[in-house]
């Protein structure tokens, strides 16, 4: 059996990569993908602990999170699409109409 630390390590790496992407990338689409990556890092944690503790609740949460994430991505991409249509760019630094 693969020790739990392995899963946690994978999850931590995945999360760090995602967070790095969210903070530095300028393209909105990439940022969205990075957010998904962070979400999946959390999912891995859930699964790992569910298996470790033999508790099915963790798996339920993951399914839940995947469903919510799907909805969220749909909204997120829709917003991005609209942004692209109106401003012609997905560069987050360019989109500043609500800035003070």
């Amino acid at each position: 059996m693969i020790p739990i630390e392995m899963f946690l390590g994978l999850s931590a790496v995945l999360f760090a990569v995602g967070a790095y992407g969210v903070l530095t990338k300028k393209n909105g689409l990439v940022v969205l993908m990075c957010i998904e990556m962070m979400l999946n890092a959390a999912n891995i944690n859930f699964i790992a602990f569910a298996a470790f503790f033999n508790d099915v609740a963790g798996q339920i949460f993951v399914i839940m999170a995947i469903a919510v994430a799907a909805a969220e991505v749909a909204v997120g991409i829709a917003i991005l699409l609209n942004l692209y249509k109106t401003s012609g760019t997905t560069d987050l630094e360019e989109i500043n109409v609500l800035r003070w």
Binding site: L23, T24, R99
Partner: protein
């Protein structure tokens, strides 16, 4: 059937006329004039019927009836009701009678005023309502309510030409200003009266006359409290009856129509003050000092106002000053008579006979004055109506063109001047007599009253002088500039009231010989003994004997005739030039009188140089300091946030970085705390 049970209808009749004219007046002939006359006539008839019952003693000393109006605290009830005694019915009768005559006269005088007539008759009807309500009131609060409505009506009527004045914009500005002045100056007195009400309400837990005048209740109250209350109430009198130093609104009030002046001076408004003094006698006589104060105010006003009438060229203003002076006489008489009674109250010995006569003298003079002053004002109105000016220098020689007016005015003049057998003679003589009685005593007060007597005598001289001056300048001599445009005698609707009034002005003095002095008396059971206030117990022969055996009575006649003679020489015979005495109008005294002793300037200075700058300063403080602080706090907050919001640069990624950094810091902190704690 007792008519007194319908007495409550009396003020309601003119009130109904007020409402009717106010809503439908313009659909009736003369803008509701006939309605107003009818209401006043009805009120007079009912007053006369009620008056007969009261004066004949059917209901004892007084008739009282009231309903609770407002229970302001447990056991403290303010009532609304009637208190009818001799004084009240006397006031009711002559107020409604003279108002009726003035309203009739107005139909001619105001005929050419177009749609303004409705407004006029509405206001005068309310005026009569308020005056009747005032004299019939059963308590001080009710009296005060009507007192203020009287003030409101005078404000409305003095400012009647406050816009669209027939003589142009300047006159309408003056009228508006005069109205404001009348209201404000009398309100100064009213505020004092209000304070007096608080004092009495606090002391008696009631404001009903029957409670307040009950000797048993008076005995329970501290004397100094009563004196304070009395003085404050008299403050109201000073304002309303235009006594020194709140007198200055009355000359300005001449800006209203002449009929309004007649109404204010003869039937309503200024008489309310004298009435209040007479009404409050049982409380006033608890202190000799109060009565002395009242007498001094009256005497000073009488003399002081008469001086200003000496050289005035405006026919209405001369009459206004004469009213001030005559009101001073009334107050003086009440003060002098009350002083003796107050002395009697203090040592428990009733004062009787001639010594108690001051009250009778004051009230009697008030009644006579109502007749001759209404006559004089209406006569002056008739002249002004005919010649179109108020300046006596442009009049003269009107005797031939306006015979009825000139003869009735002459009767009024003889009456006010105090020439024997005319009404004014009797009452003025009583006034002087009442003062002399006190002056015959000893002590400082007697000396003061002697001085007041001399002032009063000098006033009598001046009165005769300026009234005959007025008559000669208007009706005697050659025709003046304006007289030439005179289109003859006024119409009958105006002259008939003059004739009726002149009959009263000539003859009403004789009433005193037929037991009328009994009517001007009331019983007041003082501590230990009964006081009869007024000339009770005096018959016809007593009065005649009193007057015609006293050397002072002859002195008064001599003085009046001297005044007449001086005016005759100066303004009719013209062998004495009035300019000799005043350097042709250049002397300081002459200027002082023309400027009304600088009282208008004094009032203006209080308003414009004191109150207004203070108000402007308050406004500045409000905007700069108080509101400035508020805005300052707001601005410092917004300024601070202007700086802080720079952190919020609009990039979500920056925020996310903050969040992540913050989280990391938090974890580190928790770990550190745990580490240190664990150590």
């Amino acid at each position: 059937m007792n008519f007194v049970e319908f007495a409550w209808l009396i003020p309601l009749i003119p009130l109904a006329a007020f409402l009717f004219i106010g809503f439908f007046g313009d659909r009736t002939p003369e803008g509701g004039g006939y309605v107003a006359v009818g209401a006043a006539a009805l009120a007079f008839i009912l007053s006369a019927l009620v008056g007969y019952e009261i004066l004949s003693g059917t209901h004892g000393d007084y008739y009282y009836d009231s309903i609770p109006w407002l229970t302001i605290s447990n056991g403290v009830v303010l009532n609304f009701g009637l208190y009818l005694d001799n004084l009240a019915v006397l006031m009711m009768m002559f107020a409604s009678f003279i108002s009726m005559l003035i309203f009739i006269y107005s139909i001619g005088y105001m005929h050419d005023q177009g749609d303004r007539k409705k407004r006029y008759y509405t206001k005068v009807s309310l005026f009569l309502t308020a005056m009747l309500g005032l004299v019939m009131a059963s308590n001080f609060l009710q009296l005060f309510i009507f007192w203020e409505i009287v003030g409101l009506c005078s404000y409305l009527l003095i400012g009647f030409w406050g816009f669209r004045h027939p003589k142009g914009d300047k006159a309408s500005l003056a009228a508006a200003s005069a109205a404001k002045k009348a209201f404000l100056v009398t309100r100064m007195g009213d505020v004092a009266l209000l304070a007096g009400l608080f004092v009495l309400l606090n002391a008696f837990s009631s404001l009903d006359f029957v409670t307040l005048f009950d000797p048993a209740n008076i005995a329970l109250v501290d004397k100094s409290t009563l004196a304070l209350g009395s003085l404050l109430i008299f403050g109201g009198v000073i304002g309303k009856s235009a006594q020194f130093p709140l007198h200055d609104w009355l000359p300005d009030a001449m800006e209203g129509p002449t009929t309004v002046s007649a109404l204010i001076h003869a039937a309503t408004m200024v008489k309310a003050g004298v009435y209040l003094t007479a009404r409050s006698f049982p409380i006033f006589v608890q202190s000799t000092d109060v009565m002395l104060f009242i007498a001094i105010i009256g005497g000073v006003t009488a003399f002081y106002a008469a001086t200003m009438a000496l050289n005035n060229m405006n026919i209405k203003r001369v009459l206004a000053y004469s009213t001030l002076s005559q009101l001073g006489f009334m107050i003086l008489a009440l003060g002098a008579g009350g002083y003796l009674i107050a002395m009697g109250v203090a040592d428990g010995t009733p004062i009787t006979g001639s010594k108690a006569f001051g009250y009778t003298a004051g009230v009697f003079h008030m009644m006579n004055h109502a007749f001759f002053k209404a006559l004089l004002f209406l006569g002056a109105g008739s002249v002004i109506h005919a010649v179109g000016t108020e300046d006596m220098r442009q009049m003269g020689g009107l005797r031939k063109r306006m015979s009825v007016t000139s003869i009735t005015m002459l009767i009024g003049t003889l009456s006010i001047a105090g020439i024997p057998v005319f009404a004014g003679f009797w009452s003025k003589d009583f006034v002087l007599e009442a003062v002399m009685v006190v002056a015959e005593g000893s002590g400082v007060a007697a000396a003061i009253f002697l001085l007041l007597y001399i002032l009063a005598l000098a006033t009598a001289f001046m009165t005769a002088f300026y009234m005959f001056r007025l008559w000669y300048m208007t009706f005697g001599g050659e025709e003046g500039e304006a007289s030439k445009h005179c289109h003859g005698e006024s119409e009958k609707v105006m002259t008939y009231p003059l004739i009726v009034l002149s009959v009263f002005a000539a003859l009403s003095g004789f009433l005193i010989l037929f037991g009328f002095n009994q009517a001007l008396t009331f019983n007041w059971a003082g501590p230990g003994s009964d006081f009869v206030i007024g000339g009770g117990g005096y018959g016809m022969m007593d009065v005649l004997e009193k007057i015609f055996t006293s050397p002072f009575a002859y002195l008064a006649i001599v003085v009046a005739v001297a005044g007449f003679y001086a005016a005759y020489r100066m303004y009719n015979f013209k062998d004495v030039d009035p300019g000799r005495f005043n350097k042709d109008g250049e002397s300081a005294m002459y200027q002082l009188l023309q400027k009304r002793y600088f009282f208008p300037q004094f009032y203006d200075a209080i308003a414009l140089k004191l109150t207004y700058p203070v108000a402007l300063a308050v406004e500045q403080v409000d905007r700069k300091a108080v509101d400035g602080t508020v805005d300052g706090i707001a601005n410092s907050l917004t300024g601070g946030s202007q700086m802080l919001r720079r952190i919020q640069n609009g990039f979500v990624q920056t925020y996310a970085a903050y969040v992540l950094g913050g989280l990391l810091l938090l974890f580190v902190a928790i770990y550190m705390i745990g580490y240190i704690g664990g150590l």
